[in-house]
Symmetry: C2
Subunit: 432 residues, 2 copies
């Protein structure tokens, strides 16, 4: 990963009904997130586009009225595993919660996915921002900082379980009948504040050594966890200056943990809306926005800001508001943009409806490629997590129209050179 | 399912290294349980054989020294999901614990698998018999009866979550933008002794209405749970008389819950060892048995009986012993056979090493078919869970040599007539 040959890393954020809240209403778009053929087609397109990663988020409650794919969705591990046999190169990453899982179960599932994919699994470790999750688990949803305290230990336990087996512990010696060399398997014997886990895992060391770890926290504890443990970081951005500052903050924080900043790929989320002309792209975005119902946008905005904002008049300017206890990333990026651009609540509703608070880049393929290149070269990003507004067309457009430009400019691979996700990302395979 | 056309149901029990404890040492056998191509081949063979079900068990600890596939294994949900896209008809069933999972997570995973497979998912609800699981979850492993008390409520919560959505709740109305009809989705609001779960699930109702539920408990609480909630029951048998009694007991117990005995398929586990002649089959079994190491068999026997039996001399007769707190099914079948046949500890070691305590039928294809037919027609079984001693050859032999005989006798389907597992089993799709 020398800086002279620094290349972008690209992920695709999969929501079956599209990342735009009303993408499913776009002519020709898929309108279900529980159809295997839809996600298989997305995966094939990701491999055609030589993407590093296919990513699926998750939630642990049915958020009635919100984005349709937040309401009716595949469970990520099963969805990703279903793609194992029908893909060959693209990394397969999914969200799983450190608040509502057992580390032993989660470590097994991702190790299993890594075996099934010959080294393409990635875990997005989230603390779960939705308060609605708690009642589905008989618990009060923990507060933000408390969730991160658990997450720190949870991630350590999972990594520890992945490290219980030496690479060569399974000998399967036909002559002697020895299957596992017991001297190459260790218990973990973790006794922490939140977890006690003996181990070892009942899975041998997986092809990547450890599955790739993704994080998306942007609060101070989120940044710490990412800087200490992540291989890939997703971020919510709306402004180049803020993105550059966030990039520098992450890389600098990594140094506190003795890590080189190049060991993490920071991938801001971006929704590309493409047209043959800028006007055509604007028209497409306007069409998508015309499909947003007031209820959808209001529910999404309430969830993102962690407060009921229905008391505000739509034409009032968005005031200064405190960060919520749910998710800091979206709220900070959106409120900051609202202040910067003197947005009304109506503007903020529209912004939320479009890309759920993520950055929207609207224009011709060259304009979009120019913007991505600018951000990449300004040290605001190591690549991007692409959020097509709808599937399959919105993703096809990016892969067929923007990726070739990035490739021609030497910014993105023209073919896979590795087989594992770690290899795509230029990361070393961790030693036990 | 009229009795004049009663047909067998067949499952295949998948352990990558074979069901025989040393099957992996057989010439040509697969010797790993973490290879996707191996399980894909098994799945293709199951569909060639028109099997109802492909089944994978599970455990929550690495049982060092035991069966190799108990030590290094795929996590079942991810393994089954990986088969979703490369199979079309066979049911895909896997074990998941009611003791070490959250019902909300588990309900989602199986609903997701049912969507991914267009209606072929099955959950084997187990309470986890291994004491070694507890320390991996920071808990003391609960006692047998306590585990079943939790399991009763756990299964109800999962079924309740599956029932939160009407079949037609997702409307995806492109004209109005209404995605879900909120009047067709309900919370569960379960407040029980062990679980409080609000719901609804964030998954629409799955193709089978509810994934198929499998159970394998044979203790009084296990029998109750199976009689009340199961669609398929696995059993451990060694004797026709005992199997007939167990079959009658299950069907009779179902009546206590207002269910018709035909609503459950009872499938005893059986390991077929085939040869062109009976002597050839015996030789094959002897070859397999010669591969068993003393350690393997002793570990397996200790686990099955729930006690350390190393103090007994190998040539002593097996005495009367109490049933363990771990798993009753295996211990009861094995101890009963040992008494009936005046077996020594050496004999019991050999029996355990062969099929982990399951029934072994050794002979020509016609002899094996005869035996299965006899049991089926004697109301000792509604079909069988086939445990090939090794893969792929041991399963190929059964599918190519025994299945055609069963088909020619009108005992087993010659092609699939349905698409979902419920349809294969002749079960109705449950109403909400």
């Amino acid at each position: 990963m020398s800086s002279t040959h620094r290349q972008m890393h690209l992920g695709v954020f999969v929501l079956g009904t599209g990342n735009h809240i009303a993408g499913w209403r776009y002519p020709g778009a898929a309108d279900s997130f529980v159809r295997l053929d839809v996600v298989q087609q997305i995966a094939r397109t990701a491999e055609r586009g030589k993407f590093d990663l296919l990513f699926v988020g998750d939630g642990l409650s049915a958020q009635m009225g919100a984005h349709p794919s937040f309401l009716v969705r595949f469970e990520p591990l099963t969805m990703l595993a279903a793609l194992a046999g029908t893909t060959t190169h693209v990394g397969l990453g999914g969200t799983a919660s450190t608040t509502y899982n057992e580390p032993y179960n989660l470590a097994r599932q991702f190790a299993s996915l890594d075996h099934l994919t010959s080294g393409r699994a990635a875990w997005n470790a989230v603390t779960s921002s939705e308060p609605g999750a708690g009642p589905n688990f008989g618990r009060e949803h923990p507060r933000h900082d408390a969730r991160y305290e658990v997450a720190e230990e949870f991630v350590d336990v999972v990594r520890g379980l992945w490290d219980c087996w030496d690479d060569d512990a399974v000998v399967a010696d036909h002559a002697t009948g020895l299957y596992v060399d017991p001297s190459k398997v260790r218990t973990l014997d973790h006794k922490g504040r939140f977890f006690q886990v003996k181990g070892p895992l009942n899975a041998s060391r997986s092809p990547q050594g450890r599955p790739v770890i993704i994080q998306a926290g942007s609060s101070p504890p989120g940044l710490s966890l990412a800087a200490r443990t992540a291989d890939v970081v997703f971020s919510v951005v709306q402004d180049l200056g803020e993105a550059r500052a966030a990039w520098a903050a992450l890389k600098s924080r990594m140094a506190d943990f003795g890590r080189d900043g190049r060991e993490v790929a920071l991938l801001p989320g971006v929704m590309p809306v493409l047209g043959a002309t800028e006007a055509e792209a604007r028209d497409k975005l306007n069409t998508l926005q015309s499909f947003v119902t007031g209820d959808n946008a209001a529910t999404m905005l309430r969830n993102r800001l962690g407060m009921d904002v229905s008391g505000f008049a739509m034409d009032d300017l968005v005031p200064d508001l405190p960060l919520p206890d749910t998710s800091h990333g979206f709220a900070r990026a959106m409120l900051s943009k609202a202040r910067r651009e003197r947005m009304t609540w109506r503007d903020l509703h529209n912004l939320t409806g479009a890309a759920r608070g993520h950055w929207v880049v609207c224009g011709t393929p060259v304009q979009v490629a120019d913007t991505l290149q600018e951000w990449f070269e300004a040290d605001a990003a190591d690549g991007f997590n692409i959020l097509p507004p709808y599937f399959p067309g919105g993703f096809d457009d990016f892969v067929d129209q923007v990726v070739p430009i990035l490739q021609a400019r030497g910014l993105f691979r023209t073919d896979y050179t590795g087989r594992t996700l770690r290899e795509h990302l230029g990361l070393t395979r961790p030693a036990v």
